[in-house]
Each structure stands twice: as C-alpha cells, then as structure tokens.
Symmetry: C2
Subunit: 263 residues, 2 copies
C-alpha cells in the first residue's frame, strides 16, 4: 500500500492565498513537509480553477515540481485544467480522476491514453450519486472498465476509487464496510490485480474530536490495507494515522518480517 | 467482537506466588482491574496445575468468582483440572480448549456436552504442530467439527481458534494473514455463523519494544475485527490496543454510528 499525501488542497486558506498572490512558497513548504514524511506521491487538488484553468494549474505544477520529483495526482474535475496539468508535468502524473459522468468520459478519460498515464476511476453513478451497496459498486466497476476499453485505455491503467463515505452519513458504516468488501473482492471479480485507491480522511468528514478521528482513521486504514488497497490517500502529516498505515501495510504484505520494519 | 482479558496467567510471578501461598488477593485485584476496563470475560489460565489439579483449579475459580460474575474461560490442558473448573464454576464457563490431540478429544471434548458449555477448538495437528497455510486450517476445522459431532457437541458450541502465530517466526506474517483469511472465510465454508477466537498478544511474543508491540497489535486487532472475529483474547489493561479493538469493532458492525460510540 503506497501512501499519497492529500494535504495540498486549494480549499485550505493559505494555499488559496498563495494561489491568489501567485506566491509558490506556501505550496513548496507544504510539499517539502509531505516529502519529508515519506509520501509516495502528492495529490494536487486544485479544484476546477475557474476562469484561468491553464495558468492556474501551471502555477501549482511548477510550484510542486520545484521541490520534488515524486509522482503527482492531478486532482481536478475540469478537463481543461487536467490537460494543462498533464502538459505541464515533468514528474510522473496520474489523472484523478474520471467517473461515468458523461463530460468526464468524453473529456477526461481519453487523456489517459493520450498521455499514457494511470487514471483514477470513481465508483459513482453518471449523476455523481454514490452507490448504495457492494453490488452496485461492482456494476459501476464493470461499466468503468468497459468505457476505458472503448477509449483505448488499458485496464491496468485504471485505479478504482470506491469512494469512502463519511461515517456521519446515516448508513455510513454500512457503506464503509461495502468499500472494504469491494476492495477485497475486485481482483477475484475482474480476474487481475485491480489497482485501488481510497481517501481515508473522507471517513471522518465533519467530525470534531481529533483524538477520535485519528482512532477511527487508523483502524480503518488497517482494514483497507488488510483488504488489499493499493494506494491510501491521507493526511501524511498525521503521525498516528501514518504509523498505523505503515504497520498495517507490513502486516498485509506476505513478506519477511522484522521488528526493524515497524515505524 | 467481544474482548476477553488474557491477563490472569499462572506464568506471571505474582499470580504464581499467590497460588503457592493460597492468597486470593493478588488474583482478585487483577480481576477487578480487568472488570473495570470492561472485559466481557476472564481467561483463567492456570496451566496444568501439576499434582493437585482439583484443589488448584478450585482456588482460582473461587478467587475470581469472589469479585465478578462475568463468564470464565477455563484455560488448562489438564482434563482433571478442566473438570474441576467446570464443577467449581458458578459463573458461565467456556472450555479453553480442545484440539485433535487424542487425549483432548477423549477427555476434554466430551466435557462440553456433559456441562453444556461452549468449547474452544484449536486449529492444530494431533501432535500440536501448527498448520502451514489456510487450506490445512480448513481441513483441521472440518475434522474438529466431525469429532465434535461424534461426541454429541453441537457445532454452535465450538469456538474456532486459528492460533495466531508470533511474527518472529520465519513465516509469521504469512501465517498471520492465513489466520485472517480463515476467520473471514469460515462462515461461508461451513454455512453457518462459526464462532471464532484469537489471542492477539501471541503475535508479538518475544518482541521487546512496547511501542512497536502496541502498534502491531492495534493494527492486527483491527484486521481481526474486520475479518469478523467473535472473541479477541488480549491484554485488557493495554489502553491503546483496547481502544483500537473497540473502535475496529464499531467499524465492523454494520449498525448505526455516532461519534459518542468511539472510546
């Protein structure tokens, strides 16, 4: 299980201000801290980037690449910004991501073939509704792979994101269990080693108590690792959750163990 | 997932001394501490109890029952001590346990029927060797259920213990994964809701660093809960591991969630 920092988001005020003032330093400082914590990649969550998607995306890619050569997940729903990111990136890029939404199928999915990169596929309905159980998620997975094949994108390029629900939802736990089941079952269902990604902190969206949040996230990340998750998107600066993720990963790989491996 | 204290063991020096001096106080004090932490039951690990198994077992049962009416797991390999424990116990008793070892099949398994109690069944070969993979564990499970049926013990009475390995073993991680797989798969394989138990602290046997031990145990207990474990045998006084176990249990039950449930 590779860990990906979800820390760089335009919804954070200091990142928003850095963007407005075209000052790369706050972005660079944040990315440096994530790199120091051993993140495998940086999710660059720019949002749709409004009226200047190309210049906006180029600012973020330049700022991040000035301090790291780690892979970047380009995280925007705007196809114009996505293309700009893929063109600007010198580091390995991953598209984050597409879904059955018609515009994304038409304008984002083909970029995976054009730029020969991996692409995250969200298990959501075309209208962005969240499926209600594992069976619906399997159906959507099959549709995503069909659409990808039709667009000339190899199945090995797809990284399935089953969309971790907030526990605060009425049936949040049921959906969180369904996500684990889907991750565990997809390789058998599809007959190959399907790549999967999950956003761990989605689970605790809206929660107040940070001690409880960390406890819940560290347990769920262990379950995700045990289910065979490929990529965990998380707050790489949360030491408790990251230590749990790394330890769970050691326990989930059937390799030699030594106590020196435990963080 | 119910939590069972593994704290009362005759291998601990203070408990050994209490036994030698027939002083119930150290036993009572320890049990009170476990009860205060919300344990579901007490594992009474007396060992074989040498030359006076009946008096020895009676001492422990009396001492424990003087301070709690929680269920007791009677944890001895000596059939004479086991019978004495079942006769002495007023609290609900569970036999811990039997295996395919001929003496246990002959002298311990029938006690489950005679006393109408649940019994732990270890996934071990008749010579107490540990199986090497999940398939061997499934074969042993089938044999245990056959032997139980032949002894007139209902399958619902059997609590399967897949025997958590120390990670320090050469293939410890592989075996620890096999244990999770077995717990996850047994209900489907057997066609009913098989009860399972696992000793969490076995995993870290021999490890020195208590911070790393706790980190490993808290992750593994989350994986056990996620796999559907019925009973976790653990150090109920280890707050970090217990908080993880309780949180993992909340995340594993498909029930309503509220942040107030998280410890």
């Amino acid at each position: 299980m590779k860990l990906i920092a979800d820390n760089l988001r335009i919804t954070k005020l200091d990142i928003q201000n850095a963007f407005k003032e075209q000052d790369p330093k706050p972005v660079q400082d944040l990315v440096k801290r994530c790199v120091a914590k051993g993140t495998w990649a940086i999710d660059v969550n720019t949002g749709p980037l409004g009226k200047l998607p190309e210049e906006g995306m180029a600012f973020f890619i330049r700022a991040v690449e000035s301090v790291t050569d780690l892979p970047l997940l380009i995280d925007t729903s705007n196809p114009v910004a996505m293309r700009a990111g893929l063109e600007a990136a010198n580091n390995r890029a991953i598209i984050n991501g597409f879904s059955l939404e018609p515009r994304k199928l038409k304008e984002i999915l083909p970029l995976a073939r054009e730029f020969d990169v991996d692409i995250v596929g969200f298990l959501l309905y075309p209208d962005s509704r969240v499926p209600r159980d594992a069976a619906q998620r399997f159906e959507i997975t099959l549709s995503l792979f069909e659409k990808a094949a039709a667009a000339g994108v190899a199945k090995e390029r797809i990284i399935i994101d089953p969309v971790v629900p907030p526990l605060a939802w009425e049936d949040g736990i049921v959906q969180a269990r369904a996500v684990l089941h889907v991750i565990h079952t997809l390789p058998d269902l599809m007959g190959f080693d399907v790549q999967t990604i999950a956003g761990v902190s989605n689970l605790t969206t809206g929660a107040g108590d940070i001690v409880k949040k960390a406890l819940v996230e560290q347990n769920y990340v262990a379950m995700l690792a045990s289910a065979g998750l490929s990529y965990a998107l998380l707050d790489i600066l949360n030491e408790q959750v990251v230590a749990a993720a790394r330890t769970a990963d050691i326990l989930s790989r059937e390799s030699l163990f030594s106590w020196g491996m435990v963080p």
